[in-house]
Amino acid sequence: MSPPGVVRIARERGLDLIVVCDHNSAENVGAATRAARDAGLAVIGGMEICTREEVHVLGIFADDRALGSAQEFVYQNLSGENDPGIFGEQLVVDELGEVVGHNSRLLIGATSLSLRDVVHTIHRLGGIAIAAHVDRPRFSIISQLGFVPQGLQLDAAEVCSDKLPPLPENLTVVRSSDAHRPEEIGCRSTRFLVEEPTAPEIGMALRGAEGRRVLP
């Protein structure tokens, strides 16, 4: 999953926008953004944050500053050190895919943050909070907690297959790939009616604000 490869496949599959959300980390967002610069592909940065209930939540942010703050908050609440022999190398790369560093944190782990805290913090930083892959049997809000807790201010739920678990009626559903391998990129996608492919516009579409919306 090198940045140039991701960008090329995303364009081949006809995507205009991708959101890069690594597990508890955003250190490769910059490389993906730079790799896409001249390719006609928009990149928004985010993170797939693992809560202490082991629920995955996508935090999607408008700019590097908010994303950096979110990253800092996650790292402060994430313990453990990666063993590359068990979990593999956690590479930090540049826009050409060249290795520029290693991340030594145990990124596969869960943070000590509650689901409610994570959603609240994403919003405090101006981001979008999406319950990740709610149709998967692992690490989804449905698998871990049975149902969406009352009063949780999610902006949307992500579905990455044709299955749709029971969700609150007023919760917007988006479809995306949850791609972990190049061949999965673009296997599901969502069409948004927006002015431009940016996080604030996507946020408005999820709320159905000012004419922006998620298209069926």
């Binding site: 209930e53 689901l115 698998s143 871990q144 049975g146 149902f147």
Partner: protein, 115 residues
């Protein structure tokens, strides 16, 4: 055996639902995934878990469980405690890890499977 006797014998501390400890415990179920408890929990089960999230309370009500025991010294989240108190759902805590607590429950005669 009811929940009150079990709590006394195993040194469980009651955090909520003190009014419902007379409930008969018919069996035990251990899981940290609420979707799994919804699928497999049975009426009268004592639920052993490390899951401290508030959704445990509606799941316990839905499945008519006898109560919830949090293991390893975990404490319920504030919202969980609030809900459990409002609905009188027993939440107890144990300093023991799950395997040890379940072993002691089993030795007291709480079955994992019912015939």
């Amino acid at each position: 055996m009811n929940l009150s006797e079990i709590a006394h014998k195993l040194g469980l501390e009651v955090r909520a639902g003190g009014g419902a400890l007379a409930a008969e415990v018919l069996g035990g179920y251990a899981s940290d995934l609420l979707s799994d408890v919804i699928a497999h929990g049975q009426e009268g089960d004592l639920w052993v878990t490390l899951q401290a999230h508030e959704n445990t309370v509606p799941v316990a009500i839905l499945k008519k469980l006898a109560g919830i025991v949090l293991i390893n010294g975990r404490e319920p989240d504030a919202e969980t405690l609030q809900k459990a108190k409002a609905d009188d759902v027993p939440i107890l805590v144990s300093a023991l890890p799950a395997f040890e607590l379940i072993g002691r429950l089993y030795a007291l005669g709480v079955p994992g499977m019912r015939t």
